[in-house]
């Protein structure tokens, strides 16, 4: 009898211990799922490597950013110039590395600003409701009704000579609306929940309710939007620069490299292929990360 009892007791104690162990934090769950996603892993590796290479451009680039080699103008690929030189005799590999700095800065910068605006507008509209909500959401509708590329191009053409900061701000200004809608919707339903009511009842000020109780519940959509926005803005910068309304070519970006290369597309295809393929690879990598994150944050997918 005694043995049976002890076994039972041990089993019981063991299960008690299991119950008492701290449950996994949401971040750990997300991290565990993300690690298991192969495409997210590939995306992170590729993006990480490109980012690192671009940041280290001053160290690893074989030539200076605007070094001109007059004896090698639009040279084909060689051991001196791995991807050849552009119409001004500048090394393409070097330009790609430095160009990446700006292209990635524009992508990340605009995404961060757009997401911040989206969170602010969405949170205020969703939390306060009523008139504030109506006015803000009509404004969102209005902004969404404009074809954003048209607006961007018009603004860029009007300014004539656009700076990197300009590009970042304009891209962000025309791209925050979707996230604002999502956050608003989530807030509308979240604020009805008991834990928010409880917080309000013990006198937590609105700002703190938003920051401490509501926002952490929408981390998933925010992070996914941030990632996918980076990809979108890298493409947008490329389009803007390709049409000749982006950053001026003394500071290379992947987009304005394509703009300069365009007239040589038929004679020196490599000049067009290299930056375009770089953009595609990076955007593909970011999209992979974004999709991996989306699955990882999705509570309905298995652990």
């Amino acid at each position: 009898m005694s043995t049976a009892e002890t076994t039972l007791a041990t089993v019981d104690r063991r299960s008690m211990q299991q119950v008492q162990t701290k449950p996994m934090s949401p971040w750990r769950i997300v991290w565990r799922r993300l690690k298991r996603s192969r495409i997210a892993l590939v995306g992170t590796t590729v993006f990480g490597l490109v980012l690192l290479a671009c940041l280290l451009a001053p160290v690893i680039a074989p030539y200076g950013k605007n070094d001109i080699d007059l004896f090698n103008i639009t040279a084909p690929a060689s051991t001196d110039h791995w991807l050849g030189t552009d119409p001004l005799g500048r090394d393409v590999v070097t330009r790609l590395l430095y160009g990446g700095q700006l292209s990635l800065l524009i992508g990340v910068g605009s995404a961060v600003i757009a997401v911040t605006i989206g969170i602010l507008v969405g949170a205020v509209a969703g939390y306060y409701g009523g008139w504030t909500d109506s006015i803000l959401m009509r404004f969102v509708d209005l902004m969404l009704a404009f074809p954003s590329i048209f607006l961007l191009l018009i603004v860029a053409a009007i300014l004539d000579g656009i700076t990197v900061a300009n590009v970042i701000i304009f891209l962000a200004a025309f791209g925050w609306m979707w996230l604002a809608r999502i956050i608003r919707g989530e807030f509308l339903s979240l604020k009805q929940r008991e834990f928010v009511e409880a917080a309000r009842m013990i006198g937590v000020p609105s700002r703190q309710i938003i920051m401490r109780h509501l926002l952490p519940n929408v981390t998933g959509p925010i992070i996914v939007a941030l990632t996918l926005d980076i990809a979108l803005y890298i493409l947008a910068e490329a389009t803007l620069s390709f049409l000749g309304f982006g950053v001026k070519p003394e500071n290379p970006t992947w987009g304005n490299m394509l703009n300069e290369a365009r007239t040589y597309a038929l004679t020196r295809p490599l000049l067009v292929i290299a930056p375009g393929l770089t953009i595609t690879l990076v955007v593909l990598a970011i999209n992979f990360i974004g999709d991996g994150l989306r699955d990882a944050f999705d509570p309905t997918s298995g652990r």
Binding site: L144, I149, A157, L243, V272, G276, T280
Partner: protein, 316 residues
């Protein structure tokens, strides 16, 4: 049903009005309009400049200009092009059909490919077809559209010499066949983005329908797989898909700017680009407004389609 349609139509009016007013404000804020461009000309005297400003109505107070702009707009009058001295409406509608041809062909291509990719991938989830098409879709979504166009040009027009690289008609003239040959590359370019997103979307909506009880019932009662797929799965998966298509169609207009510039296609996108370099604000505003109208109409269409096609949605 009628009440629903009318209510949605009425709801679009303030939005369109807002779009018009905002466009106008935008145009007012623009420095370096025709004034500076004309002034740079140098040969023009102050008096001539005044006369031109007066002709273009630029010397009137802002609110008067706004009122004129709105009332003219309602009557379909978009003002006069700075560079061509003709009504903007005529300038736009001269080239509008060319863009519509291109959009129609591109739309047909991407719809067909998206349906084949999306459904094929969903029916055999994680099979080779799914993997290949998923990768292609991702790739299509991640490419800069203009770069894809340039690649097509290099490949098919220069290296292989199969198709013309730019323009809409050969200089020597030529019939429908000539037009089709000129159209293939730009239409593919315009289609690539939506092929990617639409096939991904259709794949997931088909997968969702495949998991429904009524599909299992249909299979259980012994229907042939083709019948199940076409009658039960496809029809239901198409509902959300078509609404997304309706919402995305205006995107073709923005895509046209890049595509038509790459392929020198004489349509609205190219007109927009040319007007940008000439600072022809009335034309730019006209195209901007047309784009905005298309977006509003596309959204409206999506709402109506959804309500029409899905009997589960009640029309209040």
């Amino acid at each position: 049903m009628n009440a629903f349609v009318i209510r949605r139509l009425l709801g679009a009016i303030p939005l369109l009005l807002g779009v018009s007013v905002l466009s106008f404000i935008f145009m007012q804020l623009a420095p370096g309009g025709p004034d500076t461009l004309l002034a740079k000309n140098g040969r023009m005297s102050q008096a001539q400049l005044e006369a031109i400003r007066h002709n273009l109505g630029l010397d009137e107070p802002v609110h008067v200009q706004l009122w004129k702009w709105i009332t003219n707009l309602v009557q379909g009058d978009l003002g006069v092009s700075f560079s061509q001295q003709r009504p903007v409406r005529d300038v736009i509608f001269d080239v509008f059909p060319n863009t519509v041809y291109l959009m129609t062909v591109a739309l047909t291509i991407s719809l067909m490919v998206a349906v084949i990719f999306g459904i094929g991938a969903a029916v055999n989830q994680y099979g080779w077809f799914d993997n290949v098409t998923s990768f292609l879709a991702y790739f299509g979504l991640s490419m800069p559209v203009f770069w894809f166009g340039l690649m097509l040009q290099i490949m098919f027009a220069v290296k292989l010499g199969w198709l013309p690289s730019a323009g809409m008609r050969s200089a020597t003239g030529g019939g429908t066949f000539d037009l089709i040959k000129h159209m293939i590359l730009p239409a593919l370019t315009l289609a690539i983005g939506s092929i990617g997103s639409w096939s991904r979307y259709l794949r997931s909506s088909t997968l969702e329908v495949l998991g429904q009880d009524y599909v299992r019932t249909a299979r259980a009662k012994g229907l042939r797989e083709q019948v199940v797929l076409i009658r039960h799965v496809l029809r239901n998966a198409m509902i959300p898909f078509l609404t997304v298509v309706a919402i995305d169609i205006p995107l073709y207009l923005t895509g046209a700017v890049v595509t038509e510039t790459v392929f020198s296609w004489p349509g609205m996108g190219r007109l927009f680009f040319d007007s940008l370099t000439k600072r022809d604000y009335p034309v730019l505003m006209g195209i901007l407004l047309l784009g905005a109208f298309l977006i509003v109409i596309g959204n409206l269409l999506a709402d109506l389609l959804y309500a029409l096609l899905d009997p589960r949605i009640s029309l209040k």
